[in-house]
């Protein structure tokens, strides 16, 4: 079916002439057609706007005075008509008199028999004109005539529609799902098709059934109107919300109505007895508009001092999933509601994706967003956090957010910031410290990434960060950097020295591996590794490492050299002298940048 058909249905809907099938078809069409959705929305908004006009105040109308004036005008009209009639009669009388005179003259001249003389002009013609009297009563209206009167037929039609409605709709259980209501409504619509085709206001008659003395009929009428969801139906439901016997059904009907019922559902939220049901109906819709209604009402309730009782409202928002994220973020901006909002976000499906999406949009508010990103660990929002770190205005919050996020990606952001001169290494190191405390592997993973990217500058900055505040947590990454060919020999020596300062005996094995992989030109680096082994595992461990290295390389260390080594453990230069022939005996290595 085409958009042209949809436009016809929209007009029919505005006119209250659409069947449930029309409404459902239109619902489906507008889901995939933004143009028709917009046209329908505007049509409904226009109806809303028109309905927002106040009824002309009859209070300004002076009813008694008006009736008096009408009567006066009627009397004046009667008098004027009487005068007109008199004038008309006079004119006829004069004409008649002239004619009679002429006739008399003619007769006098002729021998017209006297028996043929006409009577004198009627007394009535000569008498004063009768005063105007009310029109004579018309004959009583016959039975056939009465049948034609609209109101009579309307009454009969109302009864017929009610009977049909009762037959089709009152089987509905209280709280029946929308699908059941739709089925019953379709049955009723099919039955009322001929009435509608005859131009009878079927929907208006159903609206009247909302106040039916039979509660089952009234409830069913409410649900029927909810499924229709047009402006007129919503007006009726708004009125019906004040009737205690059917309030719950009205709230369900408003839920059935989708977006059209939101404004009235907001009113229902303000009624303590309907609050839970209204929340359920809103949460079930899972639309941004429904979430926004809850958000507004939460703000309203907060202003009324009800903040501590709002947990179920936040639960409702959390159950709506990603569509509720913007509303929850708005609420998180209010300090009083922040814990509840962040708690709800933590339990919201798709919240991370939603937050990342909002962070990617222009105009996102860092004051609200950054704590939430940190709290929820939205790694996908890292580009936004980095941008905020650069911007300066919310830098402290952004750095705290980075620390909360953690992981190699957060560390890399820190590295980039230092590289770009946006952050002092010392400050970056203090942000990195809690990241490493939580996840020692983060820095090691970053080293792998930097090596993979061939980012030597990044590796240097990371070394600076790790040596700025050396801790046990940073040792594995320092070992990895010590192995990294992207760094200069002296930088790797710094890494080894840092390991010696913060490491434990456990790192001796790693140091020995480093020693084994040292290049022929790196005898100074090798000396630093040996010194580090001595610091971590003692002189004996260092001597054994050198001996093993010499054995592996096929170099025999002289007794003198060994003694020199032991004596020179405190001097890296002496160690280097001993190691030099051993290291240089190795053929230059080829291969990857790391050993």
């Amino acid at each position: 079916m085409s958009c042209a058909h949809a436009r016809k249905l929209i007009q029919r809907e505005l006119d209250d002439q659409s069947s449930i099938d029309d409404v459902l078809w239109l619902d489906q069409h507008v889901r995939g057609c933004p143009a028709c959705a917009s046209a329908r929305r505007r049509g409904r908004q226009l109806e809303e706007l028109l309905w927002s006009l106040p009824v002309p105040a009859a209070g300004r109308l002076d009813l008694t005075g008006s009736i008096t004036r009408v009567n006066r005008a009627i009397d004046a009209g009667i008098a004027a008509r009487a005068r007109a009639r008199t004038r008309r009669r006079r004119r006829w009388w004069m004409a008649g008199l002239a004619a009679a005179a002429a006739a008399a003259i003619l007769l006098a001249r002729s021998d017209w028999p006297r028996r043929a003389r006409a009577p004198a002009p009627g007394r009535a013609m000569l008498a004063e004109p009768e005063p105007w009297t009310a029109p004579a009563p018309s004959a009583p209206v016959g039975d056939d005539e009465r049948e034609r009167l609209d109101h009579k037929r309307l009454e009969a039609m109302r009864d017929r529609v009610r009977d049909l409605f009762q037959e089709c709709m009152t089987d509905l259980a209280a709280g029946a799902p929308r699908a059941d209501v739709v089925l019953c409504a379709q049955r009723f619509d099919a039955g009322a098709r001929l009435h509608r085709a005859g131009g009878w206001p079927v929907v208006r008659i159903v609206q009247g059934l909302v106040r039916d003395p039979d509660a089952a009929v009234a409830r069913a009428a409410v649900r029927y109107l909810g499924v229709r969801g047009d402006t007129l139906a919503m007006e009726t439901l708004k009125d019906a919300l004040r009737v205690p016997a059917i309030q719950a059904d009205v709230v369900r009907a408003l839920g059935d109505a989708g977006d059209a019922g939101l404004a009235t559902l907001a009113l229902a939220l303000r009624d303590a007895s309907l609050e839970a049901l209204a929340l359920t109906q809103l949460a079930r819709q899972r639309t941004a508009a429904a979430a926004r209604v809850i958000e507004k009402e939460i703000q309203r309730a907060r202003e009324a001092g009800r903040a501590p009782q709002l947990l179920p409202w936040f639960d409702a928002l959390a159950s709506m999933g990603e569509v509720a994220v913007p509303s929850l973020l708005e609420l998180a901006a209010t300090s009083e509601l922040e814990p509840l909002a962040i708690g709800a976000l933590a339990h919201t499906d798709g919240a991370r994706a939603g937050v990342a999406g909002i962070a990617a949009e222009a105009g996102a508010r860092p004051g609200v967003l950054l704590p939430v990103i940190g709290e929820l660990g939205v790694v996908a929002a890292l580009p936004y956090v980095e941008q905020q770190c650069r911007a300066g205005a919310a830098r402290d919050q952004a750095l705290a957010c980075l620390a909360a996020l953690g992981g190699p990606d957060a560390l890399r952001v820190l590295v980039r910031l230092v590289q770009g001169g946006r952050l002092l290494a010392s400050l970056a190191a203090s942000v990195a410290a809690p990241i490493l405390d939580r996840d020692a592997e983060a820095a090691t993973s970053l080293v792998d990434v930097l090596v993979g990217d061939g980012d030597s500058a990044g590796a240097r900055v990371l070394l600076d960060l790790l040596t700025e505040r050396t801790s046990v947590a940073s040792v594995p990454a320092l070992v990895a950097l010590a192995r990294c060919d992207l760094l200069h020999e002296t930088e790797r020596e710094r890494a080894v020295a840092a390991v010696a300062a913060a490491g434990t005996r456990e790192q001796v094995g790693a140091m020995r591996n480093l020693l084994a992989g040292a290049l022929p030109s790196e005898h100074r680096f090798a000396a630093a590794v040996v010194a580090s082994i001595a610091a971590l595992g003692g002189d004996a461990a260092a001597e054994a490492s050198v001996a093993d290295l010499a054995r592996d390389r096929g170099v025999e260390l002289s007794r003198r050299a060994t003694r020199q080594l032991l004596d020179g453990m405190s001097s890296r230069t002496r160690i280097a002298q001993v190691l030099k022939p051993v290291i240089q005996s190795q053929s230059p290595k080829t291969g990857g940048p790391c050993r």
Partner: protein, 200 residues
Amino acid sequence: MTAIRACQQMSEELDDRMLILRAKRGDREAFDQLVRSHLPRVYGLLKRIVGNHEDAEDLAQDTFTRAYFALQGFREDSAFTTWIYRIAVHLGRDLHRSRRRKPPPLSIHRLAPGQALAAPAASPIEVTLRGELAAGVAAALELLPYRLRVVLVLRVFEGLAYADIARVAGITEGTARVQVVKARQLLMRVLQPMFREQSP
């Protein structure tokens, strides 16, 4: 019009029939009762059509004066309300013609300064709560050509069926439908700034 009002209208029409019969027999008291029950509604209709209290009140009184003298011709093949509306609409048209001048192009900027529209509110609740909204919409309604204004008022505010609108306005049912659609389109154009854009 709410459903309650629609039902009230039905029962009122039953009472009207008796009053009309009595008034046709010359019972002025019965006619007074008809005036009493229908004058506010006729006034409401005229107020929406002509836009001001004084004209609406005068025309409403004229409507009933005319109705009194034409009552014998009322064949009761339509509701009394429909018949009286027809007289009112005709009187309104006469007044409109007597004062007619070429209207400037339809635009929201023709609203008086006091009727300037605020930015659209974010939610339906806010929209309904806005007092100034009503003034803006009423002003926009007055910008419509007379014949379109009449059919829209009869359809939207008086809740008349198209057949009745056709009888009141003296046009065919099809024309009435087309004119209502056209009136809505024109209003949408003029009220464009007041529409909220929602994400689907």
